[in-house]
Amino acid sequence: MLKEYIDAIKSFVDTTIPFLVIDAPVELWYIVWIFIFGGVVLGGAMLFAGLASFAERRVAGFVQSRLGPNRVGPEGLFQFVADGIKLVMKEDLIPSAADKLLFRAAPYVLFIGTLGIFAALPFSKSVSITNLNLGLLYIFAISSFVAVGIIMAGWASGNKWSLLGAMRSASQLISYEIPIAICFLTIVMIAGTMNMHQIIGQQTGSIFSWFIFRYPPFTVITFIVYFIAALAETNRTPFDLPEAESELVGGYHTEYSGMRFAFFFMGEYANMFAVCAIATILFLGGWLSPLPFFILNALFGDYQLLTIIEGFGWFIAKILFLVFVMMWLRWTLPRYRVDQLMAVCWKVLLPISLATMLIIGIWSGMGEWTSRYRGYGL
């Protein structure tokens, strides 16, 4: 039955697309596709940001023995719509002391940084917006836009709290990028490629061929280091010094209101998604099933489309689990002091990540060496 469906879709596509494409120049379709993909990614990121902000409040409530928002829609699921409408209707204030242009530009710069990451993420088997050879490097590079956006916002606000938050953020983001880079390097060393699809392809097999279980326990340590550094990169508790409400009012977004604030807010949650997606791809096998087979394929036959759908499901499920862990941590831990924050990065994460990289490098090199010379009596 499913085969008939798929055949029907195939014949529909085969008959309809040529009629649509007829006479239109290829460049036009290229631009249309860009807009379609951009819209899908932007919509998906915004939807995730909204749902994550709702989930965050529910998790906070549950951890504190409360219920959290459960009035708008079923179990409060549409709370983010109400919040969004409220933010849209708010007055758009720009302080008189602000640098107007930078103040306006900052949210977009931050949002570009987070949304740019989505362009290189493999969402499922051979599904990604671009298949970059240097995907990991691109992600690492474009995520630095976040720091630029935050510093712009803090500086342009013309407010001491904002500036302090931005300075803290700058030091924090720049410091924590180093352990992240070393974790990336470790994975690149194991996989031998920076292409995201190929990194996932290297983890095919059972759950034990995922990179997190590749060189136990060192890749697990790398994963933990990456996760902690990623928490700091997304400005989340216990590393939320840039926006520390009790010290800096709101940090870099103190002066923002309405839709501009919403952009910061969504940027933060979209960044959470992106960071967890990278952790999933690098360590937890991306869209690969934890079982040795794909459930839908086992049930309905060996269709590529089913693999793609189920792969997407696994990818999102793994990400949502990591996002939940992030929220769980947020409502467990208090905030670090500035000096503790720096100490954690430079005295703990950096040496440990360097050591694991060294050990994994030697281990993988040894493995290669022994396998290469096994035939020569070694």
């Binding site: 951890v63 023995s65 769980w328």
Partner: protein, 150 residues
């Protein structure tokens, strides 16, 4: 060197212990009472809104006299057909008067319960009703008369 690794292990372990505590609370029973749908079960001796059963009232004016803030107004006329009521002690007695006006001004009432304590026929009592807000002062005066019962 040993203290360095020990500190890391202890730190991670403390994070995990904290996460264990929060996840236990995550799955525990929630204390929130979703108020308009669910209500507290009031204790037996809770003193809420004053309520009066005017069919039992014998217009003895005990409550009006004992009320420390004078929030009660009671008027009665001689009944055409005397009915029978049961007193506090369990005896039957003749009820000679009908109540024409019984008002409780909730804005004055201090919910002391003195009126209910001494009522000879248990006509007046403290209910468990606690939602007493109103939009005007006039609405705060509750009337329990035979003509316009609330």
């Amino acid at each position: 060197m040993i203290t360095y690794f020990k500190a890391i292990v202890v730190g991670l372990w403390s994070v995990l212990a904290g996460m264990g505590i929060t996840i236990r609370y995550f799955f525990s029973k929630k204390v929130t009472m979703e108020y308009p749908e669910k209500r507290w079960q009031m204790p037996e001796r809770f003193r809420g809104m004053v309520k009066c059963d005017t069919d039992k009232c014998i217009s003895c004016l005990y409550c009006v006299n004992i009320c420390p803030v004078s929030c009660l107004t009671l008027e009665g006329i001689k009944a055409e057909i005397p009915s029978r009521v049961i007193t506090l002690e369990g005896k039957e007695m003749k009820r000679m008067k009908d109540v024409t006006k019984f008002e409780v001004d909730i804005s004055k009432c201090i919910f002391c319960g003195l009126c209910a304590e001494g009522c000879p026929t248990c006509a007046i009592g403290m209910s468990d009703e606690y939602e007493l807000s109103a939009l005007s002062r006039k609405e705060l005066v509750y009337q329990y008369a035979r003509s316009g019962q609330r």
